[in-house]
């Protein structure tokens, strides 16, 4: 399929969904409280863009969320990759981290919120740690699996070239794990954004998560939709960015 028709289809598909949404909400089959019309959502979006929400401008909300997610994502993934690769190559490290790591993963962010409030307060620290923890855990699993798939011969080749443990990490294990790491980054980014709302349960008066929660509290469904769509759009753009980077960085993938 040509690039052009790919893009056409990719643009067409959300437009069709939008059309469906318009049709359904105008048919009168569904009450607006259940499914507000796209126009209503759009006008809430516009009003947010022009007048802000709850006294804070839209750009500030977006910026607050992006900062949180950005810091948590960067920190969480750097640490996750390091620990995951370490676990893959050192069975002592793997054994030590096995039970704490794997028990931590299924623990619900919502269940952690009270604890995070208790331990880290309700400021930025708590929010960033909550998001960062999820990112960390996902990246740990993905990097570890990625590192496990390194062909044995490549490790052997590196050893006969006199590579130290660190050099093997840096030059062999890390690049070989990159395809799975990039996948992990995409999953983790979606996760980070989706935990944003939960994290903004941890107090604060700005951020897209705050907007969604606050609007939900007042049953302002159009604003909930608007906030959710904004989060989705940020996700889409950043996902494409990572996917594009992945294709450039992991240029050798599938080329054999």
């Amino acid at each position: 399929m040509k690039k052009k028709s790919y893009i056409t289809l990719a643009i067409l598909s959300p437009l069709v969904l939008l059309g469906l949404w318009i049709a359904v909400s105008h048919s009168g089959l569904v009450r607006p409280v259940i499914l507000p019309s796209p126009q209503a959502v759009l006008s809430s979006l516009a009003s947010m863009a022009l007048q802000g929400y709850s006294g804070v401008s839209l750009s500030e909300h977006v910026l607050a969320s992006l900062t949180r997610v950005g810091v948590a994502f960067a920190g969480g993934s750097a640490l996750g990759v390091a620990v995951g690769l370490l676990r893959a190559r050192s069975s002592a490290a793997d054994a030590l981290l096995l039970v704490p790591g794997e028990m931590l993963r299924p623990i619900p962010p919502l269940g952690l919120i009270p604890l995070f409030i208790l331990w880290f307060g309700i400021g930025e620290t708590s929010k960033i740690l909550l998001i960062g923890l999820s990112v960390f855990l996902i990246m740990m699993v993905n990097s570890q699996s990625g590192a496990r798939s390194v062909p044995a011969d490549l490790l052997r080749a590196a050893q006969t070239c006199g590579a130290s443990r660190m050099q093997i990490f840096r030059h062999v294990v890390l690049p070989a794990a990159l395809p799975q790491i990039m996948t992990g980054l995409r999953v983790a980014l979606g996760m980070a954004l989706s935990i944003l709302v939960a994290s903004e349960l941890l107090g604060g008066d700005r951020g897209l998560g705050f907007v969604v929660l606050d609007a939900a509290n007042f049953f302002r469904t159009t604003y909930v939709f608007a906030g959710v769509i904004l989060i989705g759009a940020i996700g889409l753009v950043s996902d494409r960015l990572i996917a594009w980077l992945a294709r450039r960085i992991v240029h050798w993938e599938g080329r054999r």
Partner: protein
């Protein structure tokens, strides 16, 4: 034609010896994969500066033997030694040309070639010089910045060879290093290896399916047999120096050994 001998019996090599201790020694080495034995009771030793070729039918255990020497596999019984120390793992004293090439897909040809220099923290200038010298040597000049997946099969194999030559280890273990290379290039590279061996006194274990190649290159040829768990016949080759001179390919003693090995192989076939 002598059956696998004790290390002591082998120690009187053809080549003048600098050190009494062998570069590589197998002592009653046995290896099983998941309980299925592939090698049993293999003993030999290789002197410093010696070049030994290993011939044998596909699947007889050549790569397995080389993997033990490289430290990739631990023998199930017996012991393998390099420079009189037990081999417990891979090390930069033993360079390996892999049957599967084992190139790093994410590195360019040049980066692959100089990987050992990078690991040793050699200066940029030296790395650059080595990369282009080695690329030139194996016929990859102009492809220094290509990635392995942009190379032909034979070019990949030569890249793997260049990586080992650049590392300049004291023992080289080469697993069918010219299998995917054309005759012309092959002959050039054979001569190159003999030249390097003479200059650096490195020891080489060389796996091949070509009798000509084995005889031209080697001080000794090990001929493994099918289903014999790695037992091998040994052939000594004596050819005038410089070994790499093309005339040796027509030397009577070359032709004689070649014939002898060929007959031993035929025999085995029945």
């Amino acid at each position: 034609m002598i059956l696998a001998e004790t290390p002591a019996a082998t120690s009187a090599g053809r080549r003048p010896q600098r050190l009494a201790r062998p570069a590589l020694r197998f002592d009653s080495v046995g290896l099983s994969y998941d309980g299925r034995p592939v090698l049993a009771d293999i003993s030999f030793s290789m002197q410093r500066g010696e070049l030994i070729s290993v011939l044998g039918p596909s699947g007889c255990g050549k790569t397995t033997m080389l993997n033990i020497a490289a430290g990739f596999l631990r023998p199930t019984s017996g012991v393998a030694l390099v420079n009189d120390r037990e081999i417990v793992g891979p090390g930069p004293d033993r360079g390996v040309v892999f049957q599967s090439y084992a190139l790093f897909d994410w590195m360019t040809v040049a980066q692959n070639i100089i990987f050992s220099l990078t690991c040793a923290g050699r200066p940029e200038a030296e790395r650059r010089e080595t990369a282009s010298r080695m690329a030139e040597l194996v016929g990859l000049a102009g492809f220094e910045s290509a990635y392995p997946y942009q190379l032909s099969g034979g070019m990949r194999q030569r890249c793997g060879l260049a990586r080992v030559l650049a590392a300049n280890p004291s023992v080289m273990l080469m697993d069918e290093p010219f299998a995917a290379v054309d005759v012309q290039t092959r002959e050039t590279l054979q001569e190159e290896i003999l030249r390097i061996r003479r200059q650096t006194q490195c020891s080489v274990m060389f796996i091949t399916h070509s009798i000509d190649e084995a005889v031209f290159l080697s001080d000794r040829v090990f001929l493994m047999r099918k289903g014999q768990l790695g037992r091998f016949d040994e052939f000594r080759i004596d050819l005038p120096e410089p070994r790499e001179s093309a005339e040796n390919r027509l030397h009577p003693s070359y032709l004689a050994v070649r014939e002898e090995i060929y007959r031993a192989m035929r025999e085995d076939g029945h």
